[in-house]
């Protein structure tokens, strides 16, 4: 790992190519969350708050094993707790580490109208650059995982950075470092997928979770966070994990194609009135002044 992993490859609202993109090939980085071995200890939550220097949050005990109702602009990582009843009547406690998925095709970046407010590094990390953020919150609408959170005081949006500051220095993200059970892994995406597939196969064959599998949603081009789930057919059970996440076409088709076409169509009206002035001329108040011959030249004024 090196600083090269923070070479930018996508920029929101940016004209022209991305400087330096593709000069070096880098492994895609990936965080693997094995929900089957998460014990819900919240060490990752604490590590996240500590490393990113975010304040302690008072909370109310709501009779579950979940610390906060939801993530917030200064609370990026939350173990979501869900108690589900299976069809056979058995109970199951599902713990899912919820944070930014760092999608390969990020909905937030597609929706963002501010040049350079959201970037994607070659390593796959999607990072918000608050100094360029205009606070429009389109990223919130573009994200299928409900990740970006708005701070009404600073009028900026914040989310998990995948500890890009640590990763750039060759360190793993803070949450990974803190995990005591080995449920969190961090490394190259290919390695993480291999590991995840092996674990899913183990769950299917040994532990009796016949629907166990790897969650790496294709609707967003894959992600830099993948989950091993007991039941990959019903990710909604884990609280807010959509089975087929996607980006609204208004942030892709409309924004990339119809916006420029629409603008050209509207500016055609400008061309139209100029053309009208040149070919038809102004509509003059009647009666017009009489047309006079100028010595040796064409008649003055319109002859129509």
């Amino acid at each position: 790992m090196s600083a090269r992993q923070l070479q930018i490859q996508k920029i929101s609202g940016h004209p022209g190519p991305v400087p330096g993109k593709g000069m070096h090939r880098e492994e895609q980085l990936c965080k693997l969350v094995d929900t089957t071995t998460c014990i819900g200890c919240k060490a990752c939550e604490v590590a996240c708050v500590e490393w990113n220097d975010m304040p302690f949050h008072p909370t109310l005990f709501d009779n579950t094993y979940q610390t906060m109702p939801d993530t917030s602009w200064n609370y990026w990582n939350l173990i979501k707790f869900h108690e589900v009843t299976n069809p056979d009547g058995s109970f199951q406690w599902l713990m899912r580490k919820h944070q930014c998925m760092h999608c390969a095709q990020p909905g937030c970046l597609a929706a963002c109208p501010a040049d350079g407010a959201i970037v994607q590094y070659q390593s796959g990390i999607v990072d918000f650059q608050q100094e360029n953020c205009i606070g429009c919150q389109f990223c919130v609408a573009g994200c299928p995982f409900n990740v970006p959170k708005f701070n009404p005081e600073t009028k900026k949006v914040y989310k998990c950075t995948l500890c890009s500051d640590r990763v750039g220095q060759g360190l793993e993200p803070a949450c990974i470092k803190a995990c005591p059970t080995g449920c969190l892994h961090f490394g190259a995406k290919t390695d993480m997928l291999t590991l995840a597939q092996a674990r899913a196969q183990q769950l299917r064959q040994v532990s009796g979770y016949r629907n166990a599998g790897v969650y790496d949603p294709k609707g967003v081009g894959g992600a830099s966070v993948v989950y091993v789930l007991h039941d990959v057919t019903q990710p909604e059970k884990y609280g807010g994990l959509p089975s087929s996440p996607g980006i609204p076409i208004s942030f892709t088709v409309w924004k990339d194609w119809f916006k420029p076409v629409g603008l050209i169509a509207a500016v055609t009206a400008f061309a139209g009135v100029i053309l009208h002035y040149v070919t038809e001329g102004p509509r003059r108040v009647q009666p017009q002044p009489p047309i006079k011959e100028v010595d040796g030249g064409a008649p003055e004024g319109r002859t129509k």
């Binding site: 609202g13 606070g135 919150q137 919130v140 009028k155 509207a266 102004p282 003059r284 009489p290």
Partner: protein, 246 residues
């Protein structure tokens, strides 16, 4: 007895007309009183503020040079809804002011059918049934009314996205954009026709008056209504007068 809605217009209307100067010279007719002109320029200013701030956000890779005018991207984003609200509110007052003049008449449908003749100046003066506003002006007016409703609904959704959620924002901003594009096209036509496209029109929104000749040329029905004279006869007389002077 007046209703509250009438009061809303009448009180500022009387006040602005009292402090605003409108002089009608010989050979001129009063076209827009001070209150109408005041409203026009208020929403005109708001329109351009909203247009520039909006297009800076619409397509920053072309219009990024608009946002520094307002103090940067974040402040542009913060101000744009207020510019929009200013436009919608001041235009609503004008809509209240103009609603009866803008009512669609059977003659307007006929006017629309001969739009090509209007564009190509087939006749030297407009048809006799063209009143205070022609059908083109009425069409644009009602488009803006519809646009304001669309702006207001979708604008509030984007202003407070946390109250409305992901879907309405994604749909709303497309509608907001389409409305802006229609009005962008409209403003070119509006500015052209009220300045170089139809000379003598601009003073209607500055001094508030137009020449009688302007009135019988562009709005013969209105000319007949305010002067009681036949516009075609008036034109013929003016032509004859011009001949004798020569």
């Amino acid at each position: 007895m007046t209703t509250p809605a009438q009061d809303l217009r009448r009180k500022p209307d009387r006040f602005i007309n009292r402090i605003g100067l409108t002089v009608v010279y010989r050979g001129e007719l009063l076209r827009h009183r001070a209150y109408t002109r005041f409203l026009h320029w208020v929403y005109g200013i708001f329109f351009f503020l909203a247009l520039l701030s909006g297009f800076g956000i619409y397509m920053p890779w072309i219009f990024r040079w608009f946002t520094p005018l307002f103090g940067g991207g974040a402040i542009t984003r913060m101000l744009h809804p207020w510019f929009g609200l200013g436009f919608v509110v001041s235009f609503a007052l004008q809509a209240h002011n103009w609603a009866s003049d803008m009512k669609w008449q059977p003659g307007d449908t006929r006017w629309m059918k001969r739009l090509k003749d209007y564009v190509t100046h087939r006749d030297s003066i407009e048809p006799a049934d063209v009143g205070f506003f022609n059908a083109g002006q009425k069409g644009q007016f009602w488009e803006i009314v519809a646009g304001c409703v669309a702006y207001l609904i979708t604008g509030v959704v984007m202003w407070f996205p946390e109250l409305f959620g992901r879907g309405p924002v994604a749909i709303g901003y497309v509608i907001h954009d389409i409305s802006a594009l229609i009005m962008l096209a409209g403003i070119f036509i509006h500015v052209y026709l009220s300045t170089i496209g139809e000379p003598g029109t601009f003073q209607a929104m500055t001094r508030g008056t137009v020449s009688e000749a302007w009135a019988w040329t562009h709005h013969p029905g209105w000319y007949r209504k305010v002067t009681g004279r036949d516009p075609v006869e008036a034109l013929a007389e003016a032509r004859a007068r011009m001949k004798t002077q020569e």
